[in-house]
């Protein structure tokens, strides 16, 4: 066994505490199981096939909304029957 120190997102930490208390399972056991599950998934589906979550800044989102404009090709695509 080896020890690591890491930060968890609040929602993950709360869920970890909840499951640990509710089921009487040690937190390190849950984390080890979760990691094993994750690594097995990576073996089944190669990493390049897994789409990453999209995190963007508020400013970037505003830029996207302002920049997005209809193009002639889009108009033709959506209005051709």
């Amino acid at each position: 066994m080896k020890a690591i120190y890491t930060n968890l997102e609040n929602k993950n930490f709360e869920m970890l505490e909840f499951i640990s208390n509710a089921k009487g399972i040690k937190k390190n056991h849950i984390i080890n199981e979760a990691l094993e599950y994750y690594f097995n998934t990576l073996k089944t589906i190669p990493e390049e096939f897994i789409l990453k979550p999209l995190h963007i800044s508020k400013d970037e989102f505003e830029r996207l909304e302002k920049t997005s404009k209809p193009t002639d090709d889009l108009k033709r695509l959506l209005n051709d029957n």
Partner: protein
């Protein structure tokens, strides 16, 4: 040509779009993703059940993050196009365009039934020009990715409809 959800009846063994990654995805993982892992649905364009093109879509979200503390505070629902590929024999015959139109219609359905602010595609370098033509713009995300995420808003789609 018919576009419908990938099923066991569709013949995909000989599909070759010229990109091994996209060929492998269709042959080995697309159906598995759909029925076992429930993480995305693949729609195929086929002629007499022989697949000539496909598009994989899923309900996803953009996490809008505050720069100060980097904590997500807003999940914005989008339709995500993970992959789009056309068999070499059928490229440059507007099939990609029809599959994209199909995905745009799905995004409109999603917006009407559950909420959706736009479409995000994960574009390979060589496909960026195709998506730009239809108004997609590159997203500067806070994390690195093998593909370039590009965005088209529902607002823009609505403005394009006459």
């Amino acid at each position: 040509m018919i576009i419908e959800k990938l099923s066991k009846n569709h013949k995909r063994e000989d599909f070759d779009c010229g990109n091994n990654f996209l060929n492998d995805f269709l042959k080995k993982y697309a159906y598995q993703n759909q029925i076992r892992y429930l993480v995305g649905v693949t729609y195929v364009a086929h002629i007499e059940n022989v697949v000539i093109g496909y598009i994989t879509i899923s309900a996803s979200s953009i996490k809008r993050v505050s720069i100060d503390n980097k904590k997500p505070y807003d999940d914005l629902p989008v339709l995500r196009v993970g992959r789009l590929a056309i068999d070499k024999e059928y490229q440059h015959k507007s099939i990609g365009k029809l599959l994209l139109k199909f995905a745009i219609k799905k995004a409109i359905e999603l917006k009407e039934n559950y909420g959706c602010i736009g479409i995000v595609v994960d574009a390979k370098e060589e496909a960026k020009k195709f998506y730009k033509k239809y108004g997609f713009i590159e997203i500067n995300t806070l994390q690195k990715s093998l593909t370039t995420p590009m965005y088209l808003s529902i607002k823009t789609i609505k403005e394009s409809l006459q």
